[in-house]
C-alpha cells in the first residue's frame, strides 16, 4: 500500500504537470481520486444521478481552479472539499432529499436480513436520515478515514465542531439502528447491571 505522503506527492506532480500543459495529467489525477469523490458524493446525496452530477461538477471546478491550489493541504483533501461543496450546492439548489437506492436483487434468504440491523442497506438508510452536517462529518471521518483535522479543513468548520457532529451523528445512528434503545429497556448488548457504576468513566 502506498504511504499517504507518497500518494500526495504523486497527486501534486500530476497537478503540476497539468498546469504545465500536460493534457492527460488532470485525467490521471481524477482517475486516482475518482473512487473517493464518488463515495463522498453518493453517501452525501444518496441518489446516484445526483451524485454523478456532483462529481462531474466537482471535476470541472477543480480543473478550472487548478492554478489556485495553494498546496497547504493534500491534493486529495482539496478535491474532497470541492466535492463536498458541489454536493452542498446541489442540496441547496435542488432540495435534494437523500434516498437510498434499492438493492438490485432481494436477499437470497430473507432470514439473513430479518432482525439483522447491521445490514449495509439499513446503515445506508440510517445515514441518509441524518442531518446533512452530521452525515458529512461521518462520511469524512468514519467512511473516508480522514482525521478530524483533515475533515475540519474539508468541511470548513473547527475541529470541535467536526467531533461534535461525528459523535452526535453516531449517537443518532445508534438509535436508528436499534443499537441503543430509548424506551427505557436497555439493549441487551449494552446493558449495565443495576447498581454497578461504570468503570473508568466516559472516554
Amino acid at each position: 500500500m502506498t504511504p499517504p505522503d507518497e500518494q500526495d506527492a504523486r497527486d501534486r506532480a500530476l497537478l503540476a504537470a497539468h498546469l504545465g500543459g500536460d493534457r492527460q495529467a488532470f485525467n490521471d489525477l481524477v482517475g486516482r481520486n475518482r473512487q473517493r469523490m464518488w463515495a463522498v458524493a453518493l453517501r452525501t446525496l444518496g441518489d446516484p444521478e445526483e451524485a454523478a452530477d456532483a462529481v462531474q461538477d466537482a471535476c470541472l471546478s477543480a480543473f478550472r481552479a487548478a492554478d489556485r491550489y495553494r498546496g497547504d493541504a493534500k491534493v486529495s483533501t482539496w478535491l474532497h472539499r470541492i466535492v463536498v461543496n458541489a454536493c452542498l450546492d446541489r442540496i441547496r439548489r435542488t432540495a435534494v432529499r437523500p434516498t437510498v437506492p434499492l438493492p438490485e436483487q432481494p436477499p437470497a434468504d430473507p432470514r439473513d436480513v430479518i432482525g439483522e440491523h447491521e445490514t449495509g442497506l439499513d446503515v445506508e438508510r440510517a445515514l441518509a436520515q441524518l442531518p446533512v452536517e452530521q452525515r458529512l462529518a461521518i462520511v469524512m471521518v468514519d467512511l473516508q478515514g480522514l482525521s478530524v483535522e483533515e475533515a475540519s479543513t474539508v468541511l470548513g468548520v473547527p475541529e470541535g465542531t467536526v467531533k461534535s457532529r461525528c459523535f452526535r451523528g453516531r449517537a443518532r445512528l445508534a438509535v436508528t439502528l436499534s443499537f441503543l434503545r430509548t424506551d427505557g429497556n436497555p439493549d441487551e448488548a449494552s446493558a449495565v447491571p443495576p447498581g454497578t457504576a461504570p468503570e473508568g468513566g466516559p472516554t
Binding site: W38, Q56, G120, I138, L143, P186, P202
Partner: protein
C-alpha cells in the same frame, strides 16, 4: 432536574465538556455507558460498509466533460470564425444529404460539461440558420445545408493519433466503408469469414441503434443540439460507426484553428434537447 439528552451525552463522549449533572446522576452515567457501547457498534457497522463502485458511464462522462472543457478553453483563445458556411464536395464513400436544421439556442451539449455558459468565442457552429423572425411560436425558419455523410461503421477510439488519420481520410473522401458494415439491403458478406461475420453482427446492430439519426428529421434535431446561433457553421462531415464500442455518430465541425477540426461523438438518443455527447476532441488534420 432534566437528564442529559443523547446529543449532550454524545458531546461528553466527544470530550467536549462534562456537565455537572453527570457527576450527580447515576441514570445519566448509565445512559452514557450504554451510548458509548452502542456507538462502538455503529463505528463497526460503518467500517463494514462496502465502498461504492464508480459506474463505468461516469468514468466516460468525466473524460468527455474534461475533454470538452479543454476544448472550450482552447477555443476561447482563438479568434471567432467568419461563420460562412462551406459547401462540402461529396466524398467517394459518402452521400451528400440535404439537411434542414432549425436553430434552438445555446448548445445543449454544454450540459455534458457541467452546464457551462457558452463563451462568446466558442467555436461550435454546426448549421447556419436564418432565424429572421426570432424565436416565436410560429417561427420555423431553417436553411438547407449539404453535409458529407459517411457510413463507414468504423470503430473509433480515444487514440488521438489514430483519430487524426481517420478524420483526415474521411475529410478527403478516402475513408473505406468497413467490410463489416453493409448498408441495409446491400449484398451479404462472405459467410466464410468468421471475423467479418462477427463484425457484421456488431455493425448491423450498430446500424439499427443509430437508425433514429439516419432520417432527416432525427439527424437535423441532433445537429441542432450542437449548434451555436452566435457562431454558425456546418459540419464538415458525418460518419456512422461506434465510439469505444458504443453506437455513435461522428460529427466533424470546423475549427478556427487551421488544420484542426472538432470531433463530436454523440449517442443514438441525440436530440435537439440533448446531444448525448459521448466524447469530444480537437484533432489536428494536417
Amino acid at each position: 432536574m432534566s437528564h442529559l439528552d443523547t446529543d449532550a451525552l454524545a458531546d461528553v463522549l466527544a470530550g467536549l465538556g462534562q456537565p455537572a449533572h453527570l457527576d450527580e446522576c447515576a441514570d445519566c452515567q448509565t445512559s452514557l455507558t450504554q451510548l458509548s457501547t452502542a456507538m462502538a457498534s455503529v463505528t463497526v457497522a460503518l467500517a463494514e460498509l462496502p465502498d461504492p463502485v464508480v459506474p463505468a458511464h461516469l468514468v466516460e462522462r468525466l473524460d468527455a466533460a474534461l475533454a470538452s472543457e479543454r476544448g472550450e478553453q482552447s477555443m476561447a483563445e482563438a479568434p471567432a470564425p467568419s461563420g460562412t458556411p462551406a459547401l462540402i464536395a461529396p466524398a467517394r464513400s459518402a452521400t451528400v444529404t440535404p439537411i434542414d436544421v432549425k436553430s434552438s439556442g445555446l448548445p445543449s451539449w454544454t450540459k455534458a460539461a457541467g452546464g457551462l455558459a457558452v463563451a462568446a468565442g466558442l467555436v461550435v457552429g454546426v448549421v447556419l440558420v436564418a432565424n429572421k423572425g426570432g424565436r416565436t411560436r410560429d417561427a420555423t425558419s431553417s436553411a438547407s445545408a449539404e453535409i458529407a455523410r459517411n457510413d463507414t461503421g468504423r470503430a473509433y477510439t480515444k487514440d488521438r493519433a489514430a483519430l487524426s488519420g481517420e478524420l483526415k481520410a474521411l475529410l478527403k473522401g478516402n475513408a473505406p466503408r468497413q467490410e463489416a458494415a453493409p448498408a441495409l439491403g446491400a449484398a451479404p458478406l462472405n459467410p466464410t469469414s468468421q471475423q467479418s461475420a462477427k463484425a457484421d453482427t456488431r455493425a448491423l446492430s450498430d446500424v439499427d441503434a443509430l437508425a433514429p439519426l439516419r432520417g432527416k428529421e432525427g439527424l437535423a434535431a441532433c445537429l441542432t443540439s450542437l449548434s451555436d446561433p452566435a457562431d454558425p457553421g456546418i459540419p464538415r462531415a458525418l460518419d456512422y460507426g461506434t465510439f469505444e464500442g458504443q453506437p455513435a455518430l461522428l460529427v466533424i465541425l470546423p475549427s478556427a484553428k487551421p488544420n484542426t477540426v472538432l470531433a463530436f461523438f454523440v449517442g443514438p438518443a441525440c436530440s435537439a434537447a440533448d446531444s448525448h455527447l459521448l466524447y469530444y476532441e480537437k484533432v489536428d488534420v494536417p
